[in-house]
Symmetry: C2
Amino acid sequence: MPELRLLPEDICVDAAEGSTFSEAAAKAGIHLAHPCGGRGVCGRCSVFVNGRPVPACKTPASGGSVYIPDAVRLASKAILTDIKTYDPERNRQPRVERVTVTLNPPALSDPASDAECLCAALSERYGVKARIEASCLPDLPGSLREDNFRISPVIIHEDDGVTVLSFARGPLYGVAADVGTTTVVTALCDLGTGHVLDTFAQPNPQAEFGTDIISRIVYAEETPSGIKTLKEAILNTLSDGIRILSERAGIKPESIPVMTVAGNTVMSHFLLGIPADYLRREPYVPAARKYPEMRPAELGLPLMPWGRLKILPSVASYVGGDIAAGVIALDLADKDGVNIFVDVGTNGEMVLSGPGFMVACSCSVGPAFEGSGISCGSRAVRGAVDNVYCRDGRLFYGTIGGPEAKPGSVCGSGLVSLLSALLRKGVIDRSGRFTTPEDYFTIAPRVTLAQTDVANLIRAKAAIYAGMSVLVKQLDMTPFDIDRVYVAGSFGSGIDVGQAIDIGMFPPLPNDKFRYAGNTSLAGALRVLCDRAANAEEAAASITNIELSVGNEFMEEFTKACFLPHTEWNSFGFLASKAS
Amino acid sequence: MPELRLLPEDICVDAAEGSTFSEAAAKAGIHLAHPCGGRGVCGRCSVFVNGRPVPACKTPASGGSVYIPDAVRLASKAILTDIKTYDPERNRQPRVERVTVTLNPPALSDPASDAECLCAALSERYGVKARIEASCLPDLPGSLREDNFRISPVIIHEDDGVTVLSFARGPLYGVAADVGTTTVVTALCDLGTGHVLDTFAQPNPQAEFGTDIISRIVYAEETPSGIKTLKEAILNTLSDGIRILSERAGIKPESIPVMTVAGNTVMSHFLLGIPADYLRREPYVPAARKYPEMRPAELGLPLMPWGRLKILPSVASYVGGDIAAGVIALDLADKDGVNIFVDVGTNGEMVLSGPGFMVACSCSVGPAFEGSGISCGSRAVRGAVDNVYCRDGRLFYGTIGGPEAKPGSVCGSGLVSLLSALLRKGVIDRSGRFTTPEDYFTIAPRVTLAQTDVANLIRAKAAIYAGMSVLVKQLDMTPFDIDRVYVAGSFGSGIDVGQAIDIGMFPPLPNDKFRYAGNTSLAGALRVLCDRAANAEEAAASITNIELSVGNEFMEEFTKACFLPHTEWNSFGFLASKAS
C-alpha cells in the first residue's frame, strides 16, 4: 500500500487502494468534517496536494503528502469517545466468561459423548440448559483430553441457558459500537475486567447518501438497491473499526466472540438491511423493535463467525437502541428521584424517569445545532467559535484551537452561547428580533448571524424544551420537579448549561442539577456487552413512548417555547432576575 | 465447459474443469465402482478414451467421448434410492409450512412493530413462542403491506417455538440426505405434500482417503488438515447433489429452507469437521451424539443461508444417525411384537425393539460382503454373479446384466448365495472346508472362491448373527421370539433370505417374517424433514446401546456362529431337514 504523509503533523499512514484522503486521515485519528455528507460538492473538506485543493471526501488517496488545514478538521471534542458513564465496577454478572470444569473421564459403562458430559457439568454449575455451538465441536475432543478432562470453555449466558462459544485460551475481548447517524464509534473491551482498552471513531459513510435519517430513508426508497448500499456502507465501517482496534491490540478479530451495537432505530434497521420506509409515515411503525440475536457471520463482520452479535432494542421508531443504551448506562430505572436524560442531535430524544415510570419522546430539532442551515454554522472544527460571553456589555469569543485559530464559523455550542450573549447584550429581543439597525450580527469577517438564523435556532431550542414539557406534563409535573438532567451527546457536552437556560433550551434549574453524560449509547452498549444483568430488552420494554404527533400538546408547548427564553417563565420570576 | 459423450449410451454431459470421468459419468446417473477407493491404483474402473484404458476415478475428463464398459458400472440396485419405508401419508404435523395470518393494521395508539404483531399472531395461533429470523426482516414491512396486513410466512416448528424463515411464495421444498460411508444419496421433497420429487446418488468422495470409516479416522489423525479435507469432500458432494436436484426441478437452491442429514456417527462428525479419533479407541466415545441445529450457511451449503440444517442424532459411536433414522422410518418404537432392524455394511448395526424397549449394537462385519478381501469379490457391478442356486446337484448362476453379461466377479449377495449353494451341494462342509480335492471353487475363468475366502465370509456372517444373538439374550429371548426382521441397505435388499438362513447369517425364521426395507436412513431423514412428530432425538435417546466389546458374550456367540449354519442349530431340528 502506498504511504501517505499527513501534514503538518508529519504522520505516515498506509493508504489502502480506493480509500479517500478522509479515510486515510481517519486512520491517524484525524477526522474531517463533511458538511455536504461526503458528496464532494461543497468544497469545505478541501485538503492540499501539491498545493492544490481537492475534496478529501471524494479524492482517492495516492502516496506522497497531503496538507490538512485546521478549518476542515473535526475538533476532538466532537468525537464521541467520552464514556464516563461506563464504569466496569458496576458490571455484576459477566455475559461472556471462561469457566473451568472437570469432567469424569468417559468409561465403557457410560456411553455419553464429550458434548453431553460438558453440557451436564455446565448445567449443574449454572442451573440452566447448556449448549455447544456446532462450530467449536471440532475442538472439543482434543481440548478435553489435553488436561485430563479439565476444560475451560468460553461461554455466553443467553436468555434460555449457557452456550459454549469456543475453547480458545488467552484474554477475552468484546467489541461495542455506537452507530450514530453522523459518527460511528467502536470500543474494544476486556471481558474479564470490563475495562475499555481502546476506542475508534469514524464518520458514518451513509452520510454520502443523506446527512439526516429522513433523507437516507428516502434514498433507500428511491434508489435501486439503495438499502443494500446503506447496509454495506455501515458494515464496512464497523468491519474497519473492528480490524483497526484488533490490530492496535495485537489480537485476531476472529478471536472476538461477542459484539453489541447501539444505534437509533433507523441505523439499526439499515444495519440489517431493513427498509425504514414506514418509520417516516404515520403511524410511524418500525419493522422491528427487538432484533434477533445473531452470529457475526450473518452480517459478514470479521469477528468469531459463530459468536454473538446483539443489536440493542429500540423503544419506538424515533427512540432507538441508543436511547435504551443510555437508560442502561445511566441506570435510569434504578435512580432515586425524577431524572431526565436528553440526547440532542437533529432529533432530540429524551427519557423522563421516576419511581415506577419511564416515559420517552423524540422531537425534530433540525440540523441548526449541527451547524447546518445557519449561515455561519459549522460542526466543531478548528477555528469554529464555540463560546461567546458578554462581560460589561462587551462580547468575547472563544475559538476551537485557541487564540491562534482565526474564527471561521460558529459550531452548535457556540450558537447557543452566541444567542445567549446577544440576548443579554440586548442585540436581540425576547422574540429574537434584532434591535440594531442591521438585521444581522457580524462576529468576524464572513462570519455573520442573520435574522433567519436566529429564527432557526429559536425553533430548534423550542423543540427541545417542548419535548421536555410534554414529558413532565404527562406525569402532572412541572420542569421544577426534575432532580437531575443528564445531557448526552457531543453537542450536549459542549454547551454551557447556564447559557442554554438563558435561551430557554433547558428548564431553569440550578446548574448543579445538570450532568454531562458523554456517549451514553456506547457506554450502554459496553454494559450490555460485559454484564448480563444489564438487560436492554427489559429496559426498552419498560419505557413508554409518547408520540408527539398525536394531539396538539407538543405544538402548544412548542409555540410557547418560541420565545427567549420562554413566554411563561416570567411568571416563575425567572430571567427578570438573571437578564443583565 | 467441454462436452463429453458417454458411450455406448451416446449421452452428452458437461465436464466441469477438473472433474474426473467418474464424476462426469455420475452426472448422467452412470455410477462407477471404485474398489481401491478412487486412488487410481487398482485399474478396476478403467474406461476407454481413444481405445486406451484410463482409471475413471483419477483421470480428468476432457471433451470428446469415453467408452464405459459394463464391468466398471455399479448396477442400479447398488444405488440406495429405494425409500419404500417412507410414506408421505404417515406425516402428521408439517415441520415447515406456510401459514396465512391477518394482522390488525398498525395505529398511532399501538406502537408495536411489524415483527411484534406478526409474532403475536403466530404465538396465538400455535400457542408457543414465535420468532423471526433476522435474515427475513428486510422483507417483512413490504410483504405485510402488499395485501393489507394479510401475510403468509414460511415457518418452521422448533423445540421452543415457531420461527419465520422467509416470506417467499411458491412451493416449498426440502432436501434430505443419507451420507453413507460409500454412497451419498440426496432427495428433493415437496414439503407441502411430503412427496419425493427426485433423488440423486453419488459415491462418497472420502473413499479416496480410506474405504472404511476406521481408515478414514486414521487418515484424519495422521494427515495435516486431513479432517478439513474429509469435511470439504463430503460438503462438496452434498452441494453438488443439492444443485443438481434443484436444477432438475427448476428451482433455486437458495429457496430451499430446510435440510436433514442422516449418517453414521463418523460421517456426521466429519461433516462438521469433528475429529473422530476417540471413537476408535476404548471407551469409544463420540464428541457428540446430538448435533446442534444449524444454519446451512455454517457449512456453506447452497441452501437458504439462514434456514435450518439438522443432522440426525447418533445413539453411540457405532450406532449413528442413520440407525436413528431407520428406527423412525420403520416406526420401530410403535410396532407391535418383537422386531429387529438390521443394516449390514462393513459394520452390522441392529436394533431390537419390543414393548417398552429398544436395544442396539454394532459389530464389525468387515468388507467381505462389499466384495473386498474376497478373491472373486466385487460390488454389484454389471457382470457380477449375484445369485447361485443348486438344483439336482448342479449349480446355476445369475449375473447382473442378464445372460448376455459374462460373469466376471461375485457381488455380496452372490457370495451369500454361492456359500449356500456350495454347502447344499456338499462342495464345502459345515466348518467351511472344501470337500473336493482342490481347496477352491471356480465359477468362471478367473472367478474363483478360495478356502481363505470362505473363512472370511464365515467370519462376516457369524458377526451378524452373533450381534443379533447378543441383543435377544439381553432380553432373555431366543431368535425364535422375533416377529419381524427388517433388512435395510443395498446388500440387504440383494440377498435371498432363505440362503442367508442356510449359511446362518440370519436366524431360521419363516421367510415371511423378513422384510426388505431399502434405504431406511434416507427414509428416516425424509420423515424428520417433513414431520415434526418424527422426533429423532427422542428416538435416539430411547435406544440402549450394547457395547459388544464389554464382556465375552459377543465372542462366545461369534465363535458358535463360525460354522455353517451354526453350531447349535441342530438342537432346533433345523438344517437336517433343509440340507439337500
